[in-house]
């Protein structure tokens, strides 16, 4: 038994593109302890999102293994993985992915409903929206919110299921610097307060350096460049 909450062992993933086979990940190793944070940097197209999806169990590796709380997810059915993921992992994406038909509050509540964490769902959602600074926009539809506000809703939605791990794929990628800074600050604060392990994919070295571990993805291999003990 490892004491890592999230782990990848020589994970390989390649895609077919026409005749060619592109090896995106050629044996990636990654470890993250509970409540710790890690950043992943790399050029565009280096496979960061691919890795994040594999860690989330949304995609399956061609070789190697992904472990959640020390347990391999290999061989588990899609629906079993879905249920496990719902209670373990929260995800935040570059382009928010809010449900346009639902108001901010309902978007957050949806996260709890899907993952089955429905107890006091409304109170908790309101509380979370207040924590991300959107207490006064709860009734707004996504279309009426700014990019930064949308990402705040998305973060609240990811946190509503009380995940142990938060996977954030360039959460500030679509935002200007000031907004990005405040989003990052809020995200880190939330994870620290609730001791949620955070994996942050980013291009911003300043944000990356605030994480416990810093990883770089190059030529299909992940290198640990810094680990704060």
């Amino acid at each position: 038994m490892s004491d890592f909450i999230l782990e990848a062992r020589s994970v390989q993933r390649s895609f077919e593109s026409g005749e060619k086979q592109i090896e995106v990940l050629r044996g990636v190793d990654f470890q993250l302890k509970s409540g710790q944070s890690a950043s992943i940097q790399g050029e565009s197209g280096s496979g960061k999102s691919t890795l994040l999806n594999l860690l989330a169990g949304l995609d399956l590796p061609d070789g190697g293994d992904v472990l959640w709380k020390g347990e391999s997810i290999d061989g588990k059915s899609g629906d079993v993985l879905s249920v496990l993921r719902g209670s373990l992992i929260g995800m935040v994406f570059q382009s928010y992915y809010l449900v346009p038909e639902l108001r901010a509050l309902d978007n957050v509540m949806l996260g709890g409903r899907i993952s089955g964490k429905v107890e006091k769902i409304e109170e908790r959602s309101i509380e979370l929206l207040e924590r991300v600074g959107l207490g006064d926009r709860m009734k707004s539809l996504p279309a009426t919110l700014s990019g930064g506000e949308r990402q705040r809703v998305a973060i609240a939605r990811a946190m509503i299921s009380n995940p142990r791990i938060l996977l954030a794929d360039e959460p500030t990628g679509n935002l200007d610097e000031t907004t990005g800074d405040s989003i990052m600050e809020m995200l880190q604060a939330l994870c620290r307060e609730d001791s949620v392990a955070l994996v942050l994919v980013t291009h911003n070295t300043a944000y990356a350096s605030r994480m416990d571990d810093s990883w770089h993805l190059k030529q299909g291999v992940l290198e640990l460049s810094e680990r704060v003990e």
Partner: protein, 412 residues
């Protein structure tokens, strides 16, 4: 409510936004189909019901015969009227005769009605269009409208009537007797609205028939009326059982089974053809939901990333089909019943716009558009239309469930 049902609801009816076009089209398609089915089938049932009532009215609920002549009908009347479920029994006699008017012969069916029965006379009076029921006696006839117009007869005219029995007697006497027809007056003309009774039938008194056919005090059978709401088939069966051979009670349905089955067949065909409208609207449900699955691919990926199973995603879209089906069916019911409620105004409006002056009565012998709503038909219509809508949602639902989470999230 499970989250995927909630999402399905919001996809179809988003908050604070106006009704999405796709929803509107799909729901409208179903509701128009359902409304049309309800209207057409109910009017069809109405005509059928009207005709059935008229057949039952003219034939009686059942007729009891013994295969020959009833020589003592009154004692049979007494014993049948003593039966439970029977309201009344009246003797009748019928046969074919030849009428001669201005040297033009015609061979109508004649039916003898017991003049002692006020109910029978009242019923006749209600169908009379010309003449007076009080003029009707043992030396007069009532003509069906079709027959009267064919011969050009009006009340007050006189006709010669011959029976087959007269010819037989002539032959037996070896030509000694002179063939004397019976001179009869036309007392009135009736129209029931049921074509068969209105075409080649005439009515005389039972007394007249007894004379013409040498029946004495006898009759050909009894016309039996059962209590309201009773099942004629069942009652006739018990009656046959309790009377024993050679008596037999035949219901009006039995006597017109061919005609009734044609009516039923026509209704089925109509239902089948109109149901295609709902099937066509199912295609529009399928295509609009498929488009919705494609538009919401990334959303579906997101649900999966939050822990949704493929089954839940499928249920979300299948439920949209169900929801469209239920909403469309409910609106269709509302629209259908609305049109049926205002059918008189609508038909009047249409005929006044088109400048058609002829009223319903002249065409169908009904002064209004008859409507008969059969609950069972409504159950069939709603069940089938909702089922078809769910099936229409199944294809998009399966597609949505099969989407791979990563590919869904990556899609543009």
């Amino acid at each position: 409510m499970p989250w995927y049902l909630h999402i399905a609801l919001r996809h179809l009816f988003p908050q604070g936004k106006r009704f999405p076009f796709f929803t509107l089209m799909s729901v409208t398609g179903v509701s128009l189909g359902v409304a049309l089915l309800i209207i057409v089938i109910s009017v069809f049932n109405g005509f059928g019901h009207e005709i059935r009532t008229k057949i039952a009215d003219t034939y009686g609920d059942a007729r009891v015969t013994n295969g020959g002549i009833l020589y003592d009908p009154d004692s049979l009347v007494a014993s049948i009227e003593a039966q439970e479920g029977v309201t009344r029994a009246t003797p009748y006699a019928n046969g074919v005769v030849m009428l001669l008017f201005r040297n033009q012969p015609l061979y109508p069916i004649i039916e003898g009605v017991d003049m002692r029965s006020d109910e029978e006379l009242d019923k006749l009076a209600s169908y009379m269009t010309l003449g007076d029921i009080d003029d009707f006696d043992d030396d007069s006839l009532l003509l069906s409208s079709g027959f009267a117009s064919q011969m050009g007869l009006l009340p007050g005219d006189e006709v010669d009537l011959y029976t087959p029995l007269m010819g037989l007697k002539l032959k037996q006497s070896g030509g000694d007797e002179v063939l004397l027809p019976r001179l009869l007056r036309i007392a009135g003309i009736y129209q029931t609205g049921w074509q068969r009774a209105d075409e080649n039938t005439i009515i005389g008194s039972l007394r007249l028939m007894q004379d013409l056919y040498d029946l004495g005090d006898g009759a050909h059978g009894l016309r039996v009326q059962f209590g309201e709401g009773l099942d004629a088939e069942e009652e006739a069966f018990t009656l046959t059982q309790s009377l024993g051979r050679p008596y037999y009670a035949r219901t009006w349905m039995d006597s017109q089974s061919e005609f009734l089955s044609v009516l039923e067949f026509e209704k089925r065909m109509m239902f089948f053809l109109l149901f295609f409208i709902i099937i066509v609207s199912a295609f529009s449900i399928t295509s609009s939901l498929l488009i919705s699955v494609i538009r919401k691919t990334r959303e579906i990926g997101l649900y999966r990333s939050m822990g949704a199973t493929s089954r839940q995603v499928s249920a979300c879209f299948c439920f949209q089909g169900l929801l469209i089906g239920v909403t469309g069916t409910m609106l269709g019911f509302a629209l259908g019943f609305l049109v049926l409620a205002f059918r008189t105004q609508i038909t009047q409006g249409i005929s006044s716009i088109m400048g058609v002056s002829s009223s319903m009565k002249e065409i169908y012998a009904f002064s209004y558009l008859p409507v008969h709503i059969v609950p069972f038909d409504l159950v069939v219509i709603s069940t089938l239309s909702i089922l078809v809508a769910v099936l229409a949602g199944l294809i998009p639902a399966i597609r949505a469930g099969k989407l791979k989470p990563v590919e869904a999230l990556r899609s543009e």
